[in-house]
């Protein structure tokens, strides 16, 4: 995987400020704390992490739905931060979002045909006739009956609604699709249908995916490369096989060890590494390594010195003073 870089984020920081308890006090929560990554054309980059790790905020920053506090986001070589809405528009078309909740992300008062056609109408692409044809094509593409374009979202099941969401995201022929937990609200059998559909679309339309999810199995299934996030930072980044086979960061290692497995073979179960406690408040970030208060192998160094994300092996990045599984 060394294709052309489609999206490059450098040191992206996003903070949220709220009013504190004391008069005039400000509470600054750093949701994304200096993330750098590249998404290459044609690949799927998976971002995995637990709730509150900043993965959704990062996705919104990358597609400029949220302004970044600092850092740079380049898309096809063009710096996006600081562009006006009008300047952003041609780039927005190329980056589309698929949301988590297929119930909440579709306007209940519009027909599904209109929902899919809207992005084309807003961007004034094609005549009504052409748009209508394209909507029917898209319905076929995502496995829906084109005869159903006059129906409303509530007439569809969760999986079908997610297909509608995908059809809408594809209507402008984007090169990058950012999918934020696209299957976490679905039952497993339906989830499998949607994941297979996304894989088929990637192949036939040469899409690039940034796939955000908390489910480690789903992320492994879809991703070529994976970034593991903890408390607003990427702690490990690399090819999916490598990360799942021999994780370098203690957090990744613990995370993988506690996923419930189907014991359908005689292979011994991975030993569970229980990490204690909860994720710290992003407005009270620990000194040194963010993970050190919960880390089973933390040392004094970890408590004071923040480990940078370094390329330990070709293509394998880790932010840890004591990486695992290196012989």
């Amino acid at each position: 995987m060394s294709g052309e870089v489609l999206l490059r984020a450098t040191d992206v920081v996003k903070t949220f400020t709220s009013r504190g308890k004391k008069l005039g006090a400000r509470n600054v929560a750093t949701a994304v704390n200096g993330v750098s990554l590249e998404v290459r054309r044609g690949e799927t980059l998976g971002i995995v992490g637990e709730s509150g790790c900043g993965k959704s905020t990062l996705a919104r920053c990358l597609v400029q739905l949220l302004p970044v506090t600092s850092g740079s986001v380049e898309f096809r070589g063009v710096e996006l931060t600081g562009l006006s809405r009008r300047q952003l528009r041609p780039h927005r078309r190329e980056m589309q979002l698929v949301f988590q909740d297929p119930y909440a992300s579709l306007n209940p008062r519009r027909t599904v045909g209109d929902i899919v056609a809207d992005p084309m109408r807003i961007n004034k692409i094609g005549s009504d006739q052409e748009i209508g044809d394209r909507v029917r094509d898209l319905f076929v593409t995502v496995g829906l009956d084109p005869a159903s374009i006059r129906r409303y979202p509530h007439e569809f099941s969760g999986g079908q609604r997610q297909r509608i969401g995908i059809a809408r995201s594809l209507s402008l022929n984007p090169s990058l699709v950012v999918a934020d937990e696209p299957v976490s609200a679905l039952d497993v059998s339906v989830q499998a249908q949607v994941l297979n559909l996304m894989a088929d679309l990637q192949e036939s339309l040469q899409l690039t995916y940034l796939f955000i999810a908390h489910d480690l199995g789903v992320v492994r299934h879809v991703s070529d490369r994976v970034g593991v996030m903890y408390l607003g930072e990427i702690v490990e980044l690399g090819d999916a096989e490598g990360i799942y086979g021999s994780p370098l960061h203690p957090y990744t290692e613990a995370l993988l060890s506690v996923v419930p497995e189907l014991n359908d073979t005689d292979a011994p179960r991975r030993e569970r590494i229980l990490i204690t406690g909860d994720v710290p408040d992003p407005s009270a970030r620990p000194d040194g390594c963010s993970f050190h208060p919960r880390c089973p192998v933390a040392t004094d160094e970890c408590r004071t010195l923040k480990p940078p994300l370094i390329e330990l092996r070709p293509g394998r990045f880790v932010a840890c003073h004591h990486p695992r599984n290196i012989d």
């Binding site: 637990e50 999986g159 499998a192 299934h221 879809v222 096989e241 799942y244 497995e261 189907l262």
Partner: protein, 342 residues
């Protein structure tokens, strides 16, 4: 299985449970003939997708489905005593006393305006003669047992001052407060992160050993079943599709729905190139076929599937499907992308 005479030993024994709701669109059959036993100190897993009736079944047998349009029939025996149709007063002593419950969303399961200690004391006082001070001491002790640091101080805090995982620990402490013989856990870790889920499952295993309760764990996640359960009930459209020991069901699944369910899960331990999918969507509980409920989505449907199959099999492992053993072997050896590997 339904005629299994070992039910005298069972803590919970359910026979032909049916739960239906009268709606404007007709009769909604949420649970349609469910039978199973939970043995002493056994962990039974009930797995199924949304709408499979797994939660409704457990709630209805404890009188927690409060809908004037509901009809519940069948038999539910708790330690040999019929509890279906008990009066309010008697049911209240079963709930929370003999049977503890843990719920899916710890963020909303506790009353927001009372301290967690108060809420545990309330339950203890409802079922025992302990004084306020004794109940308070017991509540603090329980909070310590479920791994909440500094329980004395934490007992005086409100639910919103706890994280999701910590709240689930509080709910568990509450469920255990009256030494129940049976614990019903409805998706206890679904709302939690995977590291927190591991902590909670670990805790439940430990407590089950020290308290000796039987557990019914309701979940959509086969992985949780594999970690926790001794036996599994796979439910589809309100009916049991397959019942058997956990290892048997996961390794040698018999019902086509179980094949799909296992094969559809993306794995962390191996990369399957393509997921097994079950075509179509779950059958509407308003319109469950008279025959096999899974037939409309089943790739191996036959003419006889218009009749409802009985739960049959050898010994403990039973399923409701018309396929013969030879047919199953042929189908399974032909498919590679499956969850279970026969």
């Amino acid at each position: 299985m339904p005629d299994d005479p070992t039910s005298t030993e069972a803590v919970l024994s359910v026979r032909d449970l049916k739960v239906s709701f009268a709606t404007r669109q007709g009769e909604l059959r949420a649970v349609d003939g469910l039978s199973f036993d939970v043995g002493s100190k056994e962990v039974l897993g009930i797995v199924g997708e949304s709408g499979s009736g797994k939660s409704v079944a457990m709630y209805s047998m404890l009188g927690l489905v409060r809908d004037s349009n509901v009809t519940i029939s069948g038999s539910v025996k708790f330690e040999g005593r019929e509890i279906l149709g008990l009066g309010d007063k008697e049911m209240q002593s079963v709930r929370g006393g003999d049977v503890g419950m843990i719920f899916q969303d710890p963020m909303t399961a506790l009353t927001p305006v009372y301290t967690v200690g108060w809420q545990i004391v309330e339950q203890i006082r409802a079922h025992t003669d302990l004084t306020k001070a004794q109940a308070k001491a017991r509540a603090v002790e329980l909070l310590g047992e479920v791994g909440i640091p500094n329980p004395q101080r934490r007992a005086g805090q409100f639910p919103h001052e706890f994280s999701g995982g910590m709240r689930q620990r509080v709910v568990i402490a509450m469920a255990l407060s009256c030494n129940p013989r049976l614990l019903i856990a409805d998706e206890p870790t679904t709302a939690l992160d995977v590291t927190t889920q591991a902590q909670i499952l670990d805790l439940m295993e430990k407590l089950q050993q020290s308290y000796g309760s039987s557990i019914v764990i309701i979940t959509h996640d086969m992985g949780v079943i594999a970690e926790m359960a001794d036996r599994v009930v796979v439910m589809y459209a309100g009916r049991p599709a397959e019942i058997g020991p956990e290892l048997e069901v996961v390794r040698f699944p018999r019902h086509p729905y179980t094949w799909g369910l296992l094969g559809a899960v993306p794995r962390v331990d191996s990369k399957n190139t393509r997921l097994v999918t079950i075509p179509g969507v779950s059958v509407s509980p308003l319109d469950v076929p008279d025959g096999c409920a899974f037939a409309p989505r089943c790739e191996h449907r036959m003419a006889i599937c218009d009749e409802r199959p009985a739960l049959l099999g050898d010994g403990e492992h039973v399923d409701a499907c018309w396929l013969s053993d030879a047919q199953r072997v042929a189908i399974r050896s032909g498919s590679k992308t499956s969850g279970g590997r026969p």
